[in-house]
């Protein structure tokens, strides 16, 4: 039989370990949510929209398919919106840009090239 003090210490240690485990699971879940595909897709679409908005005619910029934000499967423009497909996640609404120039996307080996004409 354990003495009462030992039982209390034992219970406290088990509680602490379990609470730490639950907190760790929640922290990892939150980190996963923040670094999720939808967030990385949002980052890419907004970066590209800002680049298009500030670009002058004749400029072009490349987006590597093996990107820091994941594997880029597709980049396309439609109705003055830019869409990026990241890690298989298809973009639903894209992000609008307001450039007065015509924008085209060309796929080359290893990257997508956004051209502002």
């Amino acid at each position: 039989m354990m003495c009462k003090r030992a039982a209390v210490v034992n219970e406290f240690v088990i509680h602490t370990i379990l609470i730490a485990l639950i907190l760790a699971v929640f922290l990892f879940a939150t980190a996963e949510r923040v670094n999720g595909r939808d967030v990385r897709q949002q980052v890419l679409e907004k970066q590209l929209a800002l680049l298009i908005d500030s670009a002058e005619t004749g400029m072009s910029f490349g987006v590597s398919k093996t990107n820091i934000n994941g594997i880029i499967d597709d980049v396309y423009v439609r109705d003055n919106r830019i869409f990026v497909k990241v890690d298989g996640l298809r973009s639903i609404g894209g992000y609008p840009y307001f450039s007065k120039y015509s924008v085209e996307v060309e796929e080359t080996k290893g990257k997508f090239v956004v051209k502002v004409k």
Binding site: I22, G36, N80
Partner: protein, 170 residues
């Protein structure tokens, strides 16, 4: 001092309580993860870029020509998606007297900006409040010194530009 059966019963009771706490926490976090959407706000940057585009368009050769029709001057710049934006221009001379004033786009954005300004002024800042704060428009305001052409006169003046960018449906 407890006997062994008592300790075991208390251990089971503790595990049960922890299990219930975990279930409740998982439900709260699970529902939260569905409702929560992470928004990256770039509207201030968009407002800044749009302001630059409008200034370059209106004062292409370094002077602001007000001798023609001023309605539609901003629209003629050819910027698309102006429905999401509001651009207001006020032209004054160096004494501050108003020469011309024109705007384009959704003037409701001004009302939204005023609303958020008032809420912040009362001490209940909405900045960072998810679900409400995301509707605060992106904002950029700047004054530019220009040469104004108006009524066959050429004089130094100031162009006050205000740009607001609304929430974009994604």
């Amino acid at each position: 001092m407890m006997n062994e059966r008592g300790q075991m019963a208390e251990g089971i009771n503790t595990m049960y309580r922890l299990f219930m706490v975990s279930v409740v926490a998982f439900i709260v976090f699970g529902v939260g993860s569905f409702v929560y959407s992470y928004q990256i706000d770039v509207r201030d940057a968009e407002a800044h870029i749009l302001a630059r585009e409008i200034v370059n368009c209106l004062t292409d050769d370094g002077s602001l020509d007000l001798s023609g029709e001023i309605d539609g001057m901003i629209e003629n710049c050819g910027v698309v998606d102006i429905e999401r934006a509001y651009v207001g221009v006020e032209v004054v001379d160096l004494d501050g007297k108003e020469i011309a004033s024109f705007s384009e786009g959704d003037s409701g954005a001004l009302w939204m900006k005023d609303l958020y300004g008032k809420v912040v002024a009362t001490g209940n800042s909405l900045v960072g409040t998810e679900g409400i704060g995301e509707y605060e428009p992106g904002y950029y305001k700047a004054d530019y010194f220009v040469v104004v052409l108006s009524d066959n006169r050429k004089f130094d003046g100031k162009m006050k530009l205000e740009v607001l960018i609304n929430y974009a449906n994604e």
